[in-house]
Amino acid sequence: MTATRNDKRGEVAVRLEKPSGAVANPARSRLLAGFLWGIAGVVSIALLWEGYKFFGPDNGVLIGELRVLPRTTDLAMPHLWDMMVRLAEPVTRADGALPLWAVVALAALLTLGIAAAGWAVGVVVGVGFALLMQRWRLAEFGLLPWIVISQTVPLIAFAPVVKSWGSRVEIGSFEWQDWMSVALIASYLAFFPITVGALKGLQSPDRIHVELFETYASGYWSTLKKLRFPAAVPYLLPALRLGAANAVIGAVVAEVSTGLQGGIGRLLIQFAGQASGDPEKAWGPIFGAIILGLVAAGSVALLGIILKDYRRTEEAA
């Protein structure tokens, strides 16, 4: 998770979104072809799943003791259509139980909310750090190495410890809630890519532009507003998207490790525990988590459409 990662991941999205600017007919048909091939890719994964399930041995493929391909029993690999059917069925046999998909959707919404809170904190802190480091190079020298190093260490391991912190915090009428611990961990993961991306972006204006603003006797704040922030957009967007993805991952993991009820992380564990009797049910929250990640990253991509004028250089490149 170093500075470069922003760009690498950003690259995918840029490549996917690029045709949006083009209006010519050949471009549109190419877009359509790309879209259809994309669907074909997803379908081929499904075919692979069902194909292996049909032809593969029940006990999987073992080399010595190590199982290198999974078991193909319905318990280990349920049929895709069974998973879909299960989503529509009630979550438990109790009367009035919601269908599985609704339970998953509610849990995903809760997690999305927590992740969004964490992301927002991560954006504020990350952009704040970037501004600090852009303004004073000494701050960049002092902080940046630590930020890069901290990206290489599994700080998410702190998750169980953070919960113990939270349970002791009580300031006046304000009482630390468990979900805040989860949001804190989510913000922690979101903050790193945003800091690095924002710093790169704020430092990205060409010398000629910086000097132009200097000849205009433009102050720090107006240069920030008219030059540095607009120029940072192409760097900020992938960073924000990565931050959103990280916030979701952090929220899911933190829910599991802090034992927070109601979110998708909890459902993952809970339904996996029931998998021996109800194997399809365990896949419900997985689909939920996948859609959650896509929604989070997609929302940031929407931001990119709003800010498309600031991405002209990116599209031209």
């Binding site: 690999m77 190093i149 391991a157 919960k163 993805a245 991952i249 899911v252 993952l268 996948i290 989070a296």
Partner: protein, 282 residues
Amino acid sequence: MTATSANAIVNGRSGTGARRSKGWSPRTESTLRIVAPISFGLLVLGIWQLLVTVGGVDDYLLPSPTSIVAELVEFWPAVVSATVLTGTNSLLGLLVGSLVGIVLAAIAARWRIADQMSAPIVAALAVVPIVALAPVLNSMFGADSQFGRQAIAAIASFVPIFINTLRGFRQTKPVHRDLMKAYAANSGQMLRSLTLPTARPFILTGIRIASSLAVISALVAEYFGGPRGGLGSLIATSAASSAYSRAWAYVGASIALGLLFYLATLALERLVLRRVPTGGSR
């Protein structure tokens, strides 16, 4: 785009100040680059000590460095075996992820259809919480197997390696391709003498990025059940039984493991690229 305030001119001085304060000589700058982070690190460590010893911060909030070290010494064998277990999972995952990532990227670079088919899957893999697969992987491969964690580490490291490698394969310049064509080079020669050398730095960057991801993923996957004994599960159990210093000791070990992976891949990158200094920019 409203008009800015008239105090732009008043503020002009600050812009000037920022420019002129940058006039450090190259030597001062390189010194500061080393001194600044070290002093910042010492500052944080000092504040930590101060908080714990003088400020009276409770042990469960922030154990003092000494008590963490004490736990580290007491549980040394467990720390080592846990680090080895998680480290092995991460390493296997990284190796498999690298291999698959590079091969698939080569295929995607060669055939446009493969690229188009993989694009949405890779884009999705990059943003979804892969660890969510941990519980079902455990039931697919057996609850006593480490395979689920290795698979998650592999998928997590696959993403940046695939993306970087694909990008690297696309870096060959038209002038070089024309040159190879003029030499009537066959596709094997083209790969050996042009495509691979151009892509090499990108592949290595991908592996370096993936190294930390592999460790994080293997460790976090342990929170989702399966056999105990790795760093992740030990952190969780220690924290659950209020043994915070011990939890911190395992956290320390996982930081060391993450750094080890990062530095090893960084060294690999430097080593290989030193022989081909301009691999990326030609």
